[in-house]
Assembly symmetry: D3
Homo-oligomer: 341 residues x 6
């Protein structure tokens, strides 16, 4: 395969720490030719630090240059996922876009349609799919060991994890709160176990009591006056085949554990817990608990970037594709709508 | 107060182990004058064992006797809760009926209406209300320490707890499975924290995979061929004030813990876990975990019987009354209906 | 099947606590008609206590009586296993004999030959075969889950467990020490996993340092002056198919654990530990540890008595039969011989 | 004392990480003048990295140079221990040779004889002798606290520790598998507690099931097709004074613990466990468990190099000397021979 | 020895549960002939229950009877220790008196003097001297293992252990609070390690905040209005040889542990903790922690009664004798005096 | 505020690691202009390392220079605290002096008087006041949650922590042992909870058994021959309002824990433990244990330097001021005097 030319749009922490190192670690497959940020200082600093040839603060200029990229990593703020992804697709680039896909369902559907029309790959960076635990869970499902999954509890809960930096509490930039930032991760994992079907019934409630009251923060201090999003969201999703998901996510909740990211999966033959991975089943006529104490740590961003490149090259891949992203965004929107009732 | 005359209807384990000892321990308030069971042998055996003067296998006869009781403990099978409670109320008796209130909402509403019409007390034996943990939870709520409760996770889960005896898997006798037998307990506790409001939105799913497949049992062996009820039920309830409950209950589920009966309660000022009781809150500007290692064990049936007698005497009491029982049964029916969709 | 008539020979603790209750719990299969002890007082006391019709202090008399038994439980001292078993077989009785089979290999072989000649069942009471853990281990082997077993570590170790009562330190009565009393149990279990093959190479060492030095006892105080047997024995057995067993047993050893009865089993596909039962294997390409937290406690004497009765009735049974007992006794003798070198 | 001139033969990991740093940390006693490796690039790279004056790929050249060394560290592959050690001794150098001493007993005996003839020190780098735990064990033995040791269980077990690099599965280079690489360490420790006596009886079994079947590796992936050595070895050694050793070692075994390196030592007055160090004994008429929670970590290679230098200078030292190495190699050979039966 | 005739004075719980069973278990040494209580009903009930020939409510009568006892167990309330002990001694009886010895130092000194004058044994029932832990501590001291003890921390602390029964909060009956009831036990143990020397300097503080404030009780509810004694006492005792004791005792204290009865003993060679027993010392040049996991449970009242009988018979005994009791009471008085400053 | 000019006197570890980094981290408030050490080499080396303009070995010269400092950090040996602090105050500098304040009470009082006379700030570097735990303890006291504190156990205990470096065992330089070096820290914390009142009664004992006997050291090896100070000190302090403190401190003591720095605080409404921080109280009529698992780590030297600068600028601060230092030194002197009795 020829080496693909890549460009980054967005000059924040996630570009610096995740995407650029992952691309740089794959020189035989991809060449990082440019970085684009609204703040040209940021773009140049990252270009210098990581030895990226070109720095822009104008994406159009980048797409018109001689070094036009083949693929774009869109790691801008949530409200810029849509415009920059559309622009990149229009310029015939593959796109790996940060999560969540978009600010609403219409955007995500349009993005998926455009990608199809342009014959380009659009994917979303749900990198938790690459943990050894989720990989083992998928293998356990595919080998039949779990039987059929009928209920999943998906949790991404923080006790006091409203970030004191960035725009996490600004609705017009983020599109939402805990659900948009955290809940989408475990929702994506859960949907991935159910063939990414679409639920036919959804009910949800969202809250903002702690966010608006203020108090102790464990990820810096937030401004309670400017807290515009939900700090907690609880939802129940029911699927046409009668499977169901209970989703719980929070920025702030009066609970013991500081951070709880987990799936509990209930299948007809076995149940599973994601972290630490365990299976609960029957064996030789007895109830058995199975633990896997030797799973190896993985660089999940590196693996997700590889999955994206595989996908660009037409290979099978477990990346979250454009259609899945659109389904997920429709569910998120349905949750918010249900919560408004 | 005069000593009340009591009679038991139902000659099973719960009469023998719970209700009769509780009544016998309160001789200054109640006199157990009769026991009635379809099986006269059972009735006589219990009468002998516990020194109860009269044994019947015909309730009408008992109500017509000179020793006509003032109050009835109805601990028959679920499908007999309604007819015997109605008969007792018609005979001007107070009634403490075992849970669940009835087979369906219509019965429970009718029972409540009749009790009101007759001016008699009707109550249900949700004795988990009397644990020191739930009592402390209620006091914590009433003192304002929890703030306003907005979400509750209510669990009554067994890994392999389909009873191998009785009629627990027979739908026409029980009216349902895990929800009717186990889930109602924690649903009652959760509703008791939300002023027993009625939810305006309900979604639920029920399952019977393990029950119908058979396998290892930890409470005896069940007959998979005759398994007619749900072995698991997951529901989400949303209330007009935006509070919500996530209810999870199972006879059989592929999960680690053999038996998990618990509430997680999320309030604006503090969260609580019921078993073992703990509070999670802020104090002096720091996050605090509070444990109560010295709660004393309680005879919860004894305390619930006292609560019933207080209620009969017009005192304040935390017993589950007829109206609450009707609300609970309406919710149970709504859950089953939602699950059928 | 007709009900079998049983008699006990031996009036000690194990008759009173184990064998008589087990027989009495099986009235539909066996009738305990007599007990015989050298001490007629003991015999009569046990007969009274357990409602046994006849008490003897002379076995010949018992065999000549009208109530001649069909089967004998021989729970006499080790040095009487041989004579009473021979006498019972000669009188056409089935025999369940306490472990170890005999004082030496020649006796055990002769006992097996006689049983075969008489067409009667002779079995030994290695009741540890009936634990749920060993049963699960056998099922795991038979289902192929362990693959082929190639090495077993068999331990029955006590830190300071030289009994202060009985004849446990008397060589002429017991025939040996820790190996004869304790080690034979786990040796039997290990051999049971290897089709009760006969090893072609054996090496062993025995010791008596602590027994002869005296000191603190955790099972009463023993008389160091009269300590005639081994307090510890370590042996390695190699089988024609290259499987091997490491056997370690002690009455007294300077080790942490007070009592350690266990097998570690190493198979080509999985390893197993007996107590608490666990399997160590690979699954879905990862190393897995499996635990079985819900094994139910069992009355192992009851189950072994049932196994003996099944065997008497010609059914398949996992009892230790006469041939296995002879093999085991030959190995024990070989171990002692090796240790003398 | 004059400063000794040292040279390294072998340019692998153990030279780079262990021996060179240890020598460099002792400038007042030894000067590292040269490094020799078949691969001159390796030799030069190490010389540059560690500031070693000379680099060779021909040992003869090195011995003929002006900077002829006084002592050699032989850290070549197992099959080169013999030729280079002989060459070094012939050139009148002291030698510290990596373990195992040689490919077979004849080589090790010849090496010892040659060292004696040349009046030079030959020692082996069994650096586990220098742990604080083994040192404390030796002191406990020497002070009489253990009494006389009569049995030792020596374990060096890995669950899935077949190295995926180097030549660990190549018999012609390594001479064997787990025993040659791992077992020799704990065998040396055990023999060191028994005055390095020679056993008069040995029985052993070796296996290669997992190595030849392949599967999950925790130290990289190995090639099951080319697996030529034993993956597990179990042996029993009996000594003329009736002491005994049970040796268990594995590259791969279906067991819980990932890596288990330990001795259990049974003495007449106390028992000991090496890791973490503990004693089990009697005190004031009670059974006592003694732990030593404050042992300090040690650089065991540094201490073993010091021990070697002391030995070269004629001082007392706990280094494994040439005679001990020959005894150990004879035992290893006897184990392999027994396992072939 | 002739069998001694014993009588009990005091009809409370401690007579019924401790002293009578202990005497009854020693029929070959003592015969319990009478029980005397102010409440003749109590006396008769105990006499019936325990088959004691005679019951009195008048001690003088008992001493004048034909069955005049040889020894008295005085288990009356604290304020009656003095009068009944004096009366018993005057009647030429040995006396085992419950702790504390008396209401004040003068009484205890007078009691000791009288016992000496009459040639009778007077001893106090500090039964914690008989635990296996204290016995082992004494042996460790006597064998020199601890070296010289220079500091002891003696604790008898309860978090909320003000008894809701009896007279524990009544100063005129009890003479004091936590110190008189609880602290004296560990003070006696500590003094027993220091040859029961008399301190030359004492400083102390006592408190009654929680007792007078009321609140949650873990040993029943107490009446805060009638709380007259100290709920906590902290004292430092310094001895002529420079040894020192820190004594801490409480009925109620805001601390984690519900009940903490312990000594920490600091010696020149080793330190000790009483519960669970452990030694902290040096061995082979390393710091060692020693635990004794196999101490056997003991009936401490039985052993203390035996110690008293031995003492009556002139044998060596570790009972608390009259002189020690007087010293202890002088220290208690000095503590209270210091606290008043 | 103008930027203050600072100078360090004393060139040891604490200057290098604690004080200089703290000053350097506050460039907007303080400028470190000079460092003075008796050893000019040390002074220059630190000046170079930390970019300090001037280095002296003569304090007078420093005070006379153009860059005369506004404040001095006195981190010299204990016996130099007094002369250099006096010199600095005489030169009109504020002073932050290391603990303990001085060699005796008279010095500390004179230092406080001089500071007052000169109108300069004198403070002591008890930096443990700045831990989040002590801060939370103070807030809990100030909010009334503890009620009134009546007893404190203050511990700073090491098992074998006699430093093998510096002058810690030299009485003429240090002024004392464990109390002067360690105990003063927790004494200061305890006094800070009691409004730094002066006790009216003190009793104490000091010891030097282990220090003078020698043995294993966990902080290097000390010279038992030259051990001149106390290795352990136990004291009881009683205050006019009846509050009391039990102080225990050691360099070496036969105890389990290697290092134990803690306060146990007993208040009328709640008790507290400092490390890890916990409260023990009553809530809703039940006993409650409160833990604070999310306290954040703090740079306590940085915070104490800030507190000193605030104090210099006339702001409120929790620094240990000159008067408190004098009170503490008087108590230390009284403890030593009591121990001499």
């Amino acid at each position: 395969m020829p080496i693909l030319k890549a460009a980054i749009i967005g000059g924040g922490h996630i570009a610096d720490q995740n995407h650029i190192p992952a691309l740089k670690a794959l020189p035989e497959r991809v060449e990082l030719v440019a970085i684009c940020s609204r703040d040209i200082q940021k773009a140049r600093a990252l270009a210098d630090k990581h030895h990226i040839p070109l720095a822009y603060n104008n994406a159009a200029e980048m797409f018109d240059s001689d070094s036009k990229p083949d693929l774009i990593i869109n790691c801008t703020a949530n409200n810029l996922h849509y415009p920059f992804t559309v622009q990149a697709l229009e310029n015939n680039c593959h796109v790996l876009c940060e999560k969540p896909p978009a600010m609403n369902a219409a955007q995500a559907v349009e993005m998926a349609d455009l990608a199809q029309k342009k014959g380009k790959v659009l994917a979303y960076n749900f990198q938790l799919r690459q943990t050894p635990e989720y990989s083992l869970l998928k293998r356990s499902l595919e080998s039949g060991r779990l039987g059929e999954i009928y209920h999943i509890k998906a949790n991404f809960l923080r006790r006091r994890g409203i970030p004191g930096w960035g725009n996490f509490t600004n609705k017009s930039i983020q599109g939402g709160g805990a659900l948009m930032d955290l809940g989408v991760h475990v929702l994506d994992l859960a949907l991935g176990l159910l063939d990414y079907g679409e639920p036919d019934r959804i009910i949800a409630n969202t809250y903002d009591f702690i966010g608006k009251a203020g108090g102790k923060g464990l990820m810096g201090s937030w401004d309670a006056e400017k807290f515009e999003v939900e700090d907690a969201c609880f939802a129940h999703l029911s699927f046409p085949n009668n499977a169901s998901i209970t989703l719980s996510t929070s920025f702030a909740l009066n609970t013991k554990i500081q951070k709880n990211v987990n799936l509990e999966v209930f299948g007809t033959k076995a149940g599973a817990v994601l972290n630490p991975f365990a299976l609960y089943s029957e064996m030789e006529g007895e109830l058995v608990d199975m633990e896997f104490p030797h799973l190896e740590e993985t660089d999940i961003q590196f693996k997700n970037t590889v999955a994206f490149l595989d996908f660009c090259e037409g290979k099978r891949s477990n990346i979250c594709d454009a259609k899945q992203g659109a389904i997920l965004q429709k569910i998120v929107e349905a949750i918010y709508k249900s919560a408004e009732k």
